[in-house]
Amino acid sequence: MIGSVETLIQLAHDNNSSIGRAMIKYEANLKQISEADVLAQMKHNWHVMKESIQTGIQEPKKSKGGLIGGEARKLHDYCAAQPNLLSGANIVGAVSYAMAVAEVNATMGRIVACPTAGSCGIVPGVLKKIQELDDLTDEQIAEALMTCAGFGMVIAHKASVSGAVGGCQAECGAASAMAAAAAVELRGGTPEQAGEACAMVIKNVMGLVCDPVAGLVEVPCAKRNALGASLAMVMADMALADVKSVIPVDEVITAMGAVGRSLPETLRETARGGLAVTPTGLALNKKIFGE
């Protein structure tokens, strides 16, 4: 049972490997299959992720509820045309990919829940950008996805990865923390630094509420995927610069779980608080569902 980041880091040290590689062993042992089969299965998931990025950028479409669509393409085009982006082409690129996947999800397209459907763009967005930047193979990215899985598992165990239980911090926050940890490992950081990146992301999303307009996975979900991708890139850089979280990562995750439980139900995916009950949010709900 992997119940803490401390365990994850220990597992990596025991195997004299990255957390990602240690997780491949863990999964092979759990399922009683070969490590090659684990990696092949994860490569398949990566393939689906890349397809959703491409679909979202190349074939923008209105979402099922009609609230979003085409924003990823806009950002992608702006990123290509603007040589002097305020936040830099890497971040804006990762964000455009993340939003592309979130938009595909909202059109009933095919995605990989990561850890959930609502937060499905963050990990693929960040990893695709790093794959392009560092010219990495799909195997290397599949291994990074195993790093993501390890951190996701700890968050699911100690806190939650469900918006209905823990708010958006549990979905987009968890995804961002997973992506940041994997980014650190892809850039050659230590398991400890991956843990620091995870901690620093979660500190920055602590308390983020889940307040979907009309109850749909559209507004603000796609843009929260943008938040998650950009935050992951920045916190990965901070961890790689050897900046450390004053509060240890496992304590941060436990705190996130406690904050989630103390959020009022109106702010946990019920569409009865936050943006969902703004005048515009309510008007959109009425327009879509006629009530």
Partner: protein
């Protein structure tokens, strides 16, 4: 809490937008199809709670129908389920309703009319993360998760029947992961749900079916 797999976190591959309102709904449809054992002539789908309120925006209706048509949770044809249903000659209706107290917020009820005119009813709910629970079969309360191969049998409620049925499983080396027996009244019809670690071969099911007190046996693969 059982141990997580990496693929519980990075996965499943699914069509959006929601694991509970879309992926879970597909699985409910797939279970209804397994119970019907054929594409029904007609289906009335009743939607309760959050399903009733938001089904259009989440494509829950498309997902339930897609599952009934045999599509899996990652099938991109789900967004065109209405057209596929029409092409397959399936008559369908959706009704937002209130099934009453005690039903989970994401509950759907299938009322299916089969080719021989019989009517089959399935009630199930989507409990989050794509997981589902079947709660009623033809009005009987049950609990089926679909995570394991599942035997669903109806038999006359009398001493020794469970022993006879599990005896057949022993003969074929099939391990029982979990089981539940439900009945409405003593000495009438009882439902038994057996979840197994192995798939149950058809000849084992035939043996169970041939047992005198057994009225009907169905087998559903993990769905």
């Amino acid at each position: 809490m059982s141990e997580y797999s990496c693929f519980d976190i990075i996965g499943p591959v699914m069509v959006g937008p929601s694991s509970s309102h879309t992926a879970g709904a597909v699985r409910l449809g797939r279970f209804a199809r397994a119970i019907a054992k054929e594409l029904p002539q007609k289906v009335e789908i009743l939607l309760h709670g959050s399903f009733a309120k938001t089904y259009k925006g989440h494509g829950t209706d498309l997902a339930l129908l897609g599952g009934l048509l045999g599509m899996d949770t990652d099938d991109v044809r789900i967004r065109d389920s209405f057209r596929h249903a029409e092409e397959a000659g399936l008559i369908y209706t959706f009704t937002a309703t209130d099934l009453g107290e005690g039903y989970h917020a994401n509950t759907a009820k299938f009322v299916m009319t089969l080719s021989d005119g019989t009517v089959k009813e399935v009630v199930g709910c989507s409990i989050g993360g794509g997981k589902v629970l079947i709660t009623e079969l033809d009005g009987f309360p049950v609990e089926i998760s679909g995570a394991y191969p599942t035997i669903i049998d109806t038999h006359m409620d009398q001493p020794g029947v469970i022993h006879m049925i599990t005896g057949v499983l022993v003969d074929y080396g099939i391990n029982i992961a979990g089981m539940k027996v439900f009945r409405q009244e003593k000495n009438t019809v009882a439902y038994m749900i057996i979840e197994t670690d192995q798939c149950v071969p058809s000849y084992a099911l035939e043996e169970i079916r041939a047992l005198q007190p057994v009225l009907d046996v169905k087998f559903v693969k993990p769905f």
